[in-house]
Symmetry: C2
Subunit: 297 residues, 2 copies
Amino acid sequence: MPRQELEYPKEPNNTVKRYPEKGKALIIPPFSPHSLTKLPSTAKYELETIHRIINSSQIVHVAFNAPNGEGFPSILPMIGQMGSYSRPSADLGDPLDLYLHGYVSSRIISLGRSSSSSESSEGLPVSISAAFVDGLVLSLTPNSHSYNFRSAVIFGNATLVTDPQEKLYAMELVTNGVAPQRWQKSRTPPSPGEMASTSILRVKIKNGSAKVRTGGPSDAKEDMEDLEMRSKVWAGVIPVYQTLGEAIPAEYNLAGDKVPDYLEEWRKEENEDAKVYAKDVGARPYVKVKKSAEEDE
Amino acid sequence: MPRQELEYPKEPNNTVKRYPEKGKALIIPPFSPHSLTKLPSTAKYELETIHRIINSSQIVHVAFNAPNGEGFPSILPMIGQMGSYSRPSADLGDPLDLYLHGYVSSRIISLGRSSSSSESSEGLPVSISAAFVDGLVLSLTPNSHSYNFRSAVIFGNATLVTDPQEKLYAMELVTNGVAPQRWQKSRTPPSPGEMASTSILRVKIKNGSAKVRTGGPSDAKEDMEDLEMRSKVWAGVIPVYQTLGEAIPAEYNLAGDKVPDYLEEWRKEENEDAKVYAKDVGARPYVKVKKSAEEDE
């Protein structure tokens, strides 16, 4: 019997609004390029789905309120990876922290620092968004157009990582999130100066949610019955996926023009997975998910 | 003599923090896949650069403060395009509004509506972020790793569009932002019911900024002098770009299996431009931009 899948709590700020009558923004059991054979039976608030989308993202968008923001949240692109320092072998469906690499902003780091220094504070409230477009869904009428996509939003409290061992764990996690094994295959450990100049924020997650759309277009009954219009308007999906191009050695590279296998094999697998996923979900029929009793709440 | 390029004002919440000593997050005159031959002479606060990044983005991340958010901004992926209803022929370097298509969230729409109904209100403060990764920049040591990227952040006040003509303008703008000419090539105009069920937010922009990195890796002097290490650690760039795959006709498509030229030609051009840009910026040497007097402020 499978272990029960963990979900984030449903609270006002992470509750996904749905418009099933418009056939848009529909929730479908998600699967990632990295687990095409696995179709989780639940969606939306399931930790594994949310964490997988975050960890597949090269960039996450981080919003927080800074003093004197005049109502405007600050928002920044950052690099983030989810992991567990206390239990590094934790898998994606377990409770995890988000580690944010902070060189892109001094503002969030200083706010995270002041939050860390106050014993009574939980840390700076931050909201994180990540999204992939997997296809342009071109229906008969603009009103029914959509994207195939995977998106996740998480909320948590950010504090600056001060323990050098935890910082080292997070630096490796973030580096290998950009390209697997890169930490081991490049000059490490960091020097004391590099350690001192690197700021990492740890976000303790309060909740989160995900949305995934897959499948071909869907049109309203009236449009489907207009055969003359349908003979003119092309309907279908243009798959969208990211490609990692052939590696370009730096001018000063002395390690040979041949790109190392650990990069080249990873690159080819990523490209194949991304392409297969986008084509696969674009070729599927669109399935309207029935609302469960819980979702009707 | 060229017209002076317009820039957004430098204010605390859009001022780009830079760490030139780390060789990261550096500002370089940006150029887009769509204007490879044009190299603007200024960056960062220039309207054209910022607007071009936003309009190239299939998804933008929108943050705002909702009541009872407990300090956490709401954050949502949405579809957005910049344009000018009062002057539709305006170009990207002119002052423009951001139109957000709102079916993805009822919360922001209802806040935008309440902001619109109050005569004294400027509208809901929203912060928008968009970013592209153009390459993984693999230097000798994780500390110097970077991305080639283009990112933009804009701030403005959102109100619900109530004028039907302006709504129609925005619906066409957003649709053709997803795929050029799609509005003209699909079943339009929208029915009265479709008009009523579509919510569009107009964001009056207060300010914004952009950051762009291009070029190969850059390493610290000590690492460059370690020839033994350099013979082992591969350094270079893996270009990253989006690919639009071969279109997949819907099961109910009656307009022929052949994909229309307006889609197919656009798809091939986009793919070529994106690939050429990522490879081109990955093959360039990294150039440290000298800080100008203004930037030293």
